[in-house]
Symmetry: C2
Subunit: 200 residues, 2 copies
């Protein structure tokens, strides 16, 4: 049953998404105009607006597709993820590896080059992922789970950005090690004198 979507509509959508991706790699998201996109995709002006309300709509739609793909991929990964039993950040290694492989795309999305919408969308996706992967062995004493999730996501994006901008030569595992050290143990692992966790 090809009841889903007309081939033509599907083709147009795919062309637009592809054009958006290409142009984002070339000029960044903010600098793009709808005009640029439809030129690159070779699609009529009215056709574009028949599918999306603007470039932001197109972008969000793209992220929604990505989110679904990730959701499926996650189920697969989850099967062999028994190894991360006592490790609350068992997923980080895979994420840095992934970022290394698709460095170009990550770069365009992260660090201001992608614009506020993009970064926000990425934060949402990562938050979902972290929220599910983070084990329940976490006590809510120090900080609410919500807060911890945001903290981890923020640290991850910070690590990625620093990696790409300052030390692109480092291997994924090296950056991962720094990330884990800071997120798991905080500054205490880098401070000479440690403080007693007693009365203060």
């Amino acid at each position: 049953m090809p009841r889903d979507i007309d081939r033509r509509a599907a083709r147009t959508r795919k062309a637009l998404h592809q054009a958006l991706l290409t142009l984002m790699l070339r000029k960044g998201y903010e600098a793009l105009s709808v005009q640029d996109i439809i030129d690159e995709a070779d699609v009529g002006r009215s056709t574009f607006y028949a599918h999306y309300t603007g470039k932001e709509d197109l972008l969000r739609s793209g992220f929604q597709m990505l989110r679904q793909e990730l959701k499926e991929a996650q189920s697969t990964v989850r099967a062999g993820a028994e190894a991360s039993h006592g490790d609350p950040l068992g997923f980080s290694t895979a994420m840095f590896d992934h970022a290394a492989r698709y460095a170009d795309h990550y770069r365009t999305m992260i660090g201001g080059r992608g614009g506020a919408v993009t970064e926000n969308e990425i934060r949402l996706i990562l938050s979902e992922m972290v929220r599910q992967e983070l084990p329940a062995t976490l006590h809510g004493d120090a900080a609410p789970r919500d807060f911890v999730v945001q903290f981890i996501v923020g640290a991850f994006l910070t690590a990625l950005n620093w990696w790409f901008e300052r030390k692109p030569k480092l291997s994924p595992s090296q950056v991962d090690a720094m990330f884990r050290s800071l997120v798991l143990h905080g500054l205490s692992s880098s401070i000479g004198g440690d403080r007693r966790p007693s009365a203060d």
Copy 2:
């Protein structure tokens, strides 16, 4: 020797900065047009472009002023900052207090509402501050100082955003406590089973 700058020019600049601030509180930065700004400031179109190349230029100029004010204020604070002797995050409390007092402004600048430029500018200012405040007792073993600075700034912005968006009722000191707990000791303070930091 008279003034460096003509009074009229100074007045125009001040009016434009004021208008920008007002409108950012009302509509956010991204949604603003130069037209809006000059209307609000009651300044001629050509006059605007005689001073700034666009709204981004105006914004940056505003941040540069802010940066100078902070630099001076910092010297003052530095005098009585002897208390933060063994505390690598001695400055955080003051920052959360400040954020609480100017919550409206912080909200407009942070969390996507302010746009990429704004957030980037804020990151720069905060990075400068943290870089100077962070004591030299920090060992570069686990992660480069650069990385640690970015990590702290990111965590601070994350905390602020979470605070404003999810738990605006909390007091500055409460959020500060969570922030310090996570940044100083990481997740280990929230995890049930701790792992030995020996061979791994």
